[in-house]
Symmetry: C2
Subunit: 171 residues, 2 copies
């Protein structure tokens, strides 16, 4: 199984590919796409869309895991970011849908609790756990990249868990 | 000049094409794309993206006018809709950017004040003014469609105004 993890944003987008073969995990590719804020939003979205299309064509992942933002409650400070993340996520989803790539969404707290055993873990803690779990020799260039790998790894662990549970239910 | 107006949404997306030739305005095409809420969001975004690409290829508009949402202040009730409109707008912008179509954004209050002389005009009032201004014989099927035509017409009037002002400045 090859999973493409994405941490969407209109300025920084993290991506990470994790391969699981016979229980062995390895990071195939990971990094971040850093887009100039001086570029019009449509050019940035076009770049995100093209980049994801390229990754899908190049690596042919079987599934995609996307970090779904927490939209906030109690005040409106998340409205602007929600709009921007919605835009970035759409560029990613359109690229996946046009290639019939199944998409799975995970809340940040879910990813953190699966990866770092704590829903309120910091991005640096998640990054450390990712380096350890995948035995990375090259440190991710940003927490966007490690967050994307974390989304992919969270998905693989959920999958494994479901497989084990299904085996127990149907012996 | 042929302007494609868009009122974006992930459930209902309005579109409208207005041609201006020698000062004569005519609506080339208009309608709404109604997407089933039971479809996964990625399938809806993919449909929006494909529909806009088709319209650009079919009619070859020279410019695009998009209604830009008001993101709200003072409470968080607009966060969910902002995220969804951001996604729908992204699908439209990516289609435009991949065809190098210039994009112009207008706030709803701007469109209403240009079309109906009042920033707080209702959608029905805007629809009535659109039917009158474009001498439509077939009523738009929804206020999404009339809002899209209103975005296009707002853009054409702004353009005309700028042309007149430029003429006065440089006689």
């Amino acid at each position: 199984m090859l999973v493409l993890g994405i941490d969407p944003g209109t300025r920084h987008l993290g991506y990470g590919l994790i391969k699981e073969e016979a229980g062995i995990l390895s990071a195939t590719d990971y990094g971040s796409l850093n887009l100039s804020p001086s570029l019009p939003i449509e050019q940035r979205l076009h770049q995100i869309h093209s980049h994801i299309l390229n990754m899908i064509n190049m690596f042919n992942p079987s599934e995609m895991a996307v970090e779904e933002p927490f939209l906030g409650t109690g005040n409106n400070q998340f409205v602007g970011p929600a709009f921007a993340i919605g835009q970035a996520q759409a560029a990613v989803l359109i690229a996946a849908a046009s290639n019939n790539l199944p998409i799975f969404r995970y809340a940040p707290t879910k990813i953190k609790s699966v990866i770092a055993n704590h829903g309120q873990a910091t991005k640096e803690q998640v990054k450390s756990m990712i380096i350890l779990s995948l035995s990375l020799t090259v440190e991710p260039d940003s927490t966007d990249a490690s967050d994307a790998l974390a989304a992919a790894l969270c998905h693989i662990r959920q999958r494994d868990l479901e497989t084990i549970l299904n085996r127990q239910i149907k012996p």
